[in-house]
Amino acid sequence: MKLLIVEDEIQLSKSMANYLQRQGYTCDIAYDYKEGIDKIDSFDYDCILLDITLPGGSGLQLLKNLKAENKLDGVIIISAKDAIDEKIEGLNLGADDYMPKPFHLSELNARVAAVIRRKQFRGSNVLALNELTIDLLAKTVSVNNKLVDISKKEYDLLLYLVSSKNRVISKNAIAENISGDSIDLYDNFDFIYAHIKNLKRKLTAAGCEDYIKSVYGMGYKFTI
């Protein structure tokens, strides 16, 4: 699986590459517009992480070129602007997703995985992890081929944890993933604890090993 990161902030692109490489992706980095164009022309990528404000040109122009060449690479725009019209323009130009900076690497990873899944119709839309099976199309979870009755929130949470399996996902990242824009309404992160507890209870009750571990109150980790 090959990714291209087009981002002029060197440290940020390094962090992204570091995290994604450990997830098993091969990562190329382009630090400016020209480098980005060269790389896109020369290789095919499964997913391109594209910053909009780049030295030497706009990421949106890069996206236009890509689409003009009928390339099928998935594109996630990462932008510091967080402007609605820019988001709409990007998505209209054919981007698959839009993430405002700053973002959580675990969130980025989950979105990359989702884009790649959508792009590649391999027939297999099922994630199998030992006794645990997640059907991505039907959005169901089963343990030892028996369906587990879990809520949509819990399904999303499980998928998020699984997408960055064996990595610590911070409480903040989980909170943002679960609550989206309404994160401001919480006084604290107790609600995450409640959701995780319910999810763990349902999975273990169905005979699943307890894969979800708390890491010193810093975050959670799906260990497998």
Binding site: Y19, V168, L185
Partner: protein, 423 residues
């Protein structure tokens, strides 16, 4: 008190004072002058009669000395002491058939060694009437003068101060965030021209300061994004390192919380500058209750978690022609506050009546400072999760659409009222 009233009032008080003093003073001095004149006449008559009396006494014809004038009375006196006395006496006038004041000279003197008594009187009626007429004319003149002064002054002042009031009106409408020059008109008074020039310079300077301040906030929060993104990503990578002991994990967790807060603060600041920059210009028709309903649904998990009882009473429909994103931010901030600052098992009342939206909720049993809550960073110091910018954003949005927002606290309910009258 208005400027015009103040200047005119002083003139008026002075004029009335002068009038009140001048009229009696004038009256009495004229009266005195006339009295003196009459007295002089009476004494002159006495001096004129003296030789006649003297010759009449010599000839022993004093009893034959008769005058046509009834006002002169002469007789031989037994009293030898000489004196002159002038008095005012009320005497019945048979001609006018009324009692009229008379000035009477009573005189006792000796002529050729013989005492003689003389009384000369003259009616004051004509003189008094003269004085009265003069006084009346004078009063009328003074009053006319006063009224004229008053009117001229008022009109003159009005005309002179007109440019001042025009300037004041324009200044009142001036908004620093909108770049509209004051365009003050030229005046014939140089002080006003100076004032206008200074004001124009001042507003230009203020506007420039405002612009650079806005630009700074914008740039600062924009430039902050990248280091924040780097910081957050490195923290996440740090979380993945092993081995990690509990103390380190705790520190990293705290750092992550802080970075999260910075991110949100930054987002709010960016939003504020975007609102300032008028980046939410396009409008569409939006129903307030539909927006509220949508957010109620979105916030349902949080409402359920706190077991807050929400009651809705939408008596009318408010349709606004506004920017959708802005009105959503406005509603979500107000509703979000009502949820976040609520307690377990609390309640929220949503009421739409005519053109007014009322959101009230239970919460802390103390009223907030209605003056301060809409200012930046006026927040509950214990609440780390709030940026302290929410109500500032609310106020900004209300200002854009001329909505009136107010806060009351009664019966342990925090109540925010938004009036959409001006749309």
């Amino acid at each position: 008190m208005k400027l015009l009233q103040k200047t005119i009032r002083n003139y008026f008080i002075y004029s009335v004072f002068i009038l009140l003093v001048a009229i009696p003073l004038f009256y009495f001095s004229i009266q005195r002058i006339v009295r003196e004149d009459v007295d002089g006449d009476l004494l002159a008559t006495k001096e004129m009669l003296r030789p006649k009396i003297s010759s009449a006494l010599l000839n022993n014809t004093i009893d034959q000395l008769h005058f046509v004038d009834q006002n002169i009375l002469i007789s031989v006196s037994t009293y030898t002491k000489e004196f002159d006395s002038l008095t005012t006496v009320e005497i019945y006038d048979s001609v006018a058939q009324e009692v009229v004041p008379h000035r009477v000279l009573t005189s006792n003197f000796t002529v050729n060694g013989k005492p003689c008594f003389l009384q000369v009187k003259t009616s004051l009626v004509d003189n008094d009437e003269l004085i009265k007429s003069i006084a009346t004319v004078e009063v009328i003149l003074l009053l006319l003068l006063l009224a004229g002064l008053f009117l001229i002054n008022r009109n003159l002042a009005k005309r002179i101060w007109k440019p001042f009031y025009t300037t004041l009106g324009k200044l009142r409408k001036y908004k620093v965030e909108k770049h509209e020059p004051l365009a003050l008109s030229k005046s014939s008074v140089s002080e006003f021209n100076d004032l206008n020039t200074s004001l124009e310079e001042l507003t230009v300077r203020t506007h420039n300061t405002y612009l650079s301040q806005k630009e700074f906030t914008e740039n600062a929060s924009h430039e902050m994004q990248s280091p924040l993104a780097v910081f957050q990503s490195k923290l996440e990578l740090l979380m993945q390192t092993a081995p990690l002991n509990e103390e380190q994990a705790q520190l990293i967790g705290d750092l992550a919380d802080a970075s999260q807060r910075m991110t949100r603060l930054n987002k709010s600041l960016l939003l504020l500058t975007k609102i300032d920059n008028n980046q939410f210009a396009d409008t569409e028709k939006i129903s307030v209750d539909k927006v509220l309903e949508a957010f109620l649904q979105q916030y349902q998990p949080q409402i359920n978690e706190k077991q807050i009882m929400v009651s809705k009473k939408f008596e009318s429909e408010i349709i606004l022609n506004v920017n959708k994103a802005l009105i959503e931010i406005l509603m979500s901030n107000l509703l979000g506050n009502a949820i976040r600052h609520n307690y377990f098992d609390g309640r929220i009342d949503l009421l739409i009546k005519e053109n007014t939206l009322i959101i009230q909720n239970t919460g802390k049993a103390v009223a907030l400072d209605g003056q301060k809550i809409f200012q930046r960073f006026q927040k509950d110091s214990t609440d780390n999760n709030s940026t302290g910018l929410g109500l500032e954003i609310v106020k900004k949005i209300c200002a854009i659409y001329n909505l009136k927002i107010s806060y009351q606290f009664s019966e342990n309910l925090h109540c925010f009222t938004v009036q959409f009258n001006n749309l």
